[in-house]
Symmetry: C2
Subunit: 230 residues, 2 copies
């Protein structure tokens, strides 16, 4: 069954967005009386029937709804790369895997110090529909690394990956999909020793992602895959 996104599924009768209406009618060739799924990105899944298959504004009737429970937190804090293509990639792949929270950060060696979340919202919604997730991840505001690491509301299981020398644990010995967890990935130029030490003081556990030098986006996806499936 095709899945569509609708921020508000409060009423019995709703309308798909112009984008989804066009997709439903022009691409998927949906007709009146077809059944579809609708998600609101906040844990509500609805089964609905198309009342009026209109490529600009398709009218649907919600038949039943189901509340999906809040997922375990899987957070990704990362320093956005220079290339927005690679940032889009991080957002898309992490959302597919099931990330719940993005924290874009500015660290000392950050290459990008401006960030516009709105750009990435389309990717979130498209990926939500595609992947079958029921929850849209939160993209938090861009903030300084030093402000982020002292946040009180983060999960207890806080990992930070870096390539410098020092005591580091194997990610497989810490990652645990049953717990709320978050990982922090540094900029291309890595975190500074000062940043690493500050994170340890704030109870982050430092991890290694092996001997290969991974690009920022690869480090993000690799660590999330392990955290999600372990």
């Amino acid at each position: 069954m095709s899945t569509f996104y609708l921020r508000d599924i409060e009423n019995d009768i709703c309308h798909l967005s112009e984008n989804d209406s066009r997709h439903a009618v022009k691409v998927l060739r949906h007709k009146n009386n077809d059944f579809i799924s609708v998600v609101n990105g906040k844990g509500l899944l609805a089964k609905a029937k198309i009342i009026e298959a209109n490529p600009k504004k398709t009218k649907i009737k919600v038949l039943q709804t189901k509340k999906i429970k809040v997922p375990t937190i899987l957070g990704l804090a990362f320093c956005p790369t220079k290339s927005n293509e690679r940032n889009s990639f991080i957002i898309e792949k992490a959302t597919e895997i099931g990330v719940t929270d993005f924290y874009p950060l500015i660290a000392q060696n950050s290459e990008r110090r401006k960030w516009n979340s709105i750009k990435f919202e389309k990717i979130l919604i498209a990926t939500l529909k595609q992947s079958g997730n029921y929850w849209l991840p939160n993209i938090h505001k861009l903030e300084a690394f030093n402000d982020f690491i002292v946040r009180k509301e983060l999960p207890k299981l806080k990992l930070l990956a870096h390539c410098k020398e020092g005591k580091k644990q194997d990610i497989k010995n810490l990652a645990d999909a049953t717990k709320n967890q978050i990982v922090v990935i540094g900029p291309e130029g890595d975190f500074t020793l000062e940043e690493i030490n500050q994170s340890i003081i704030n109870k982050f556990q430092t991890i290694s992602l092996g001997d290969n030098r991974l690009r920022t986006e690869t480090a993000c996806i690799t660590s999330l895959a392990i955290m999600k499936f372990l």
Copy 2:
């Protein structure tokens, strides 16, 4: 130390490729007597000195070489997607993670039935230099799924991911970085039941990658990340 790629490091005196010469001299601003690393993609790592920093043909003197042992096999068999951008992405990210063998396949629901490996060789070499791997992965010839699954020389630990119903194991219970292993990822339209059954007959173990529908490239990278780090 900057790393360059040279297919043959047999002699004492060698020349960097035009591409690497330009990069060394114009971008990295290397001068005569600078030390560099050179890899041949077949497990040889050399320390060398620049004798003549020429942006077209830089002459180097190999000072010492070190043989790196053959890595444990980490194979990826996959049905290339329609989009070569996404195929490039698979090749790049898998190489960073440390894949040793790519097997492009044609399955019943394959969207792409032509494949040109040469296109991807530049990505392999660029990623080799960037990631610090010493071995270039092999890209095997495009072949039919049915021919691939009966190959005798594959590792014993053979995983196949699909989204259909059926008995499937959790990838974390099978993946083992200390063993030779390979994973097979299907096309967008998934493997057919017949293909899945044939793979089981040929001792592939079927796995699930969770409840979310992952795109082909995400399934490739996610499974490799787990197999590499578990």
